[in-house]
Subunit: 201 residues, 4 copies
DNA sequence: CGTTAATCGAGACGGTACGTCCTGTCTTCGG
DNA sequence: CCGAAGACAGGACGTACCGTCTCGATTAACG
């Protein structure tokens, strides 16, 4: 009677971790190259990863699941720390996408955007990836309120959208063709902080 | 009201206007049916319109041009009128997408968004469709400044982005899953008008 | 009421005869190049014929059926005419495989041999292709008997085998590595005609 | 009867002779089951032998070598003895394939035939297996010449081909569908001995 | 009112990617 | 070290569309 192995291990050759990595890397590389999820062919992934197609299908049921895992492997390369004033912190956060290696992250995220509209699975993926970054921003806003820099009655969720949506949409759609990516975060933050109305409240 | 052109008239059987209409209708129907632009296949359009594929390619050089004409046929269902206060005007403009038949318009526009990143042609299409609506908003803002309701030094382009981007992105990506579409425009406008800072300027 | 068309014609673009030809040609070319039916890949046929795979599958259900039609298209490039004496006729018939374009025919036939063992369909194909050539030889033998050149009691079927089998097997298996293809027919015919025994009958 | 070698003995578990046997048996079984050599897959052999694929590759470098050993293990089940007259000897030799266990031998040989065309290795194998049998036949012919039964000027190599080729080809290709396997050797030998011509020489 | 020529639906065409299956090799484990 | 189980790279399979190209039949204005 052999010992009952609680950490059951299937017989045969185990799956190679190297292969997992090279496949996920290939997916991300293809995204940054091809700019679109449509360019993300299983066949292309296999070729780029130097892997047989069957090896991919052995691990993931289809392109969606593969995409999910690949992007999940990005792990938001550090949500970025914080500085001194609220204004500077916000500009830093919004502009972080412009610094390497975050650029790669944003590049991939903006490919994903369109895809999110389709499957709930991909939608959840996108939320999970982006949420930590939003939480950092919420924290900055809360500290601004605590420090008296921001009005105590602000709608934090709306504020986060106001700050992030313009930058994101500008990246994705090049909304304003002549708007400078570099200065946009500053202009957005300043305008949001000051407000438009003459007599606020 | 078909203009009968007596001057130049090519021989042979003229193209059927019914066919044009049914093709454009098929395109728009496919878009609102939740499909993305990728799912907008010429073959699917032909099938839905009850038309041969060649009949489509005879009129448009490719999917892009077809898409352009189809969306153009929507004719931005009236750029929306204006109300009393700046606040109410802005809320009205941002919320207009919720009223029928504007909903159909927005549904289609949000399918288009992702496509803009690719071809310059599609980009120009998108800009052309959206620009009139932005111009209305700019006008509202300018009148607000003139009326003393808004600060004279505001960055109008950034203000337009601040106002429109959150609503658009919420529609496209369902950015905040628990944010109510109905109340969002009001909350956005209020927050933008008031600003976040305790001591603006 | 339109005339009832007895020669019903399906709508749409008819299938191209050129394509049929190029596919069949590609099959035969691959056989003579690859020496084996195994080397006859549908994908390779499509590539060589400059044709999409679907175009092949639209016409034939699978490799077998394609092979059958391809070889059938060979049509034994003329069963060869006949000369003066029985001896010369037989040598000519056996040696015909060495002359173009018959060489191509034999090349393909010898690829088929192994395949014949498998499906009855392919077996029937092989028989149909080879039979006319055997009939020519039988005729030569019969005329030899009538002319008094051959013994009247000979077993014609066995005689045909005796004459053809060595040449065929030599081609297929290179049975005797040092036996010259060019002189073999002559030696075979002479030996068969003369017989081995000192006192025949 | 496993020879226990006391002299040199590699460390570790010794290879099981049972496994060797079961693999070779599996190969031969697959061949006689009507499969061609192409159907002789390492995977199929492993499955049939109840053995891992690696176990096979540890012993033989590839399919060719395995095939060589398998067929060699047949050991031409005794090159056949000799009888009284040349005619009877030849009929016996040609007909030996019909008696068990020779039938199995021929079955396997005819699978091999087609393969010979490919690799020189397999060609040599085939020659090696078949040569002893041909040598026996040559010996019979030579003794016939010496005994005065056969003409002294016969071409022995051609004679061997004349005698063996029809039987072999009939088995491999079922050349004449209605030719009886049992009587064929007798008819062949008789016809070859007598010759076809009225006036031999 | 017949000619004429561009229209129409239908579908074949060369491609490309799909997801499955099987090949021969390799890499683990337990015995 | 052996043996099984099975992962690995590669490649052909047959399917489904893509966007283009032909077909025969239709159809409306012109002569």
């Amino acid at each position: 009677m052999t010992t009952v192995d609680t950490s059951t291990r299937s017989p045969g050759r185990p799956r190679s971790a190297r292969v997992d990595e090279s496949i996920l890397k290939a997916v991300l590389d293809l995204l940054v190259e091809g700019h679109t999820v449509e360019a993300l062919t299983i066949e292309a992934v296999a070729a780029k990863a130097g892997v047989g197609k069957a090896t991919i299908y052995r691990r993931w049921p289809g392109k969606d699941a593969l995409l999910v895992d690949a992007v999940r492997s990005l792990k938001g390369p550090a949500p970025t720390p914080v500085g001194a004033s609220v204004r500077d912190d916000l500009v830093l956060l919004l502009g972080s996408a412009r610094k390497k290696p975050d650029q790669r992250f944003v590049r991939i995220m903006s490919c994903l955007g369109p895809e999110v509209q389709r499957s709930p699975e991909r939608y959840r993926l996108y939320q999970g990836l982006v949420e930590p970054r939003r939480e950092v921003m919420r924290e900055v806003l809360r500290r601004g309120v605590a420090a008296g820099e921001l009005r105590p009655d602000i709608d934090i969720e709306v504020a986060v959208m106001l700050l992030t949506a313009p930058v994101l949409i500008q990246r994705m759609l090049r909304w304003h063709p002549d708007l400078d990516d570099a200065t946009l975060p500053g202009r957005v933050v300043d305008t949001v902080l000051a407000g438009l109305a003459t007599h606020p409240g």
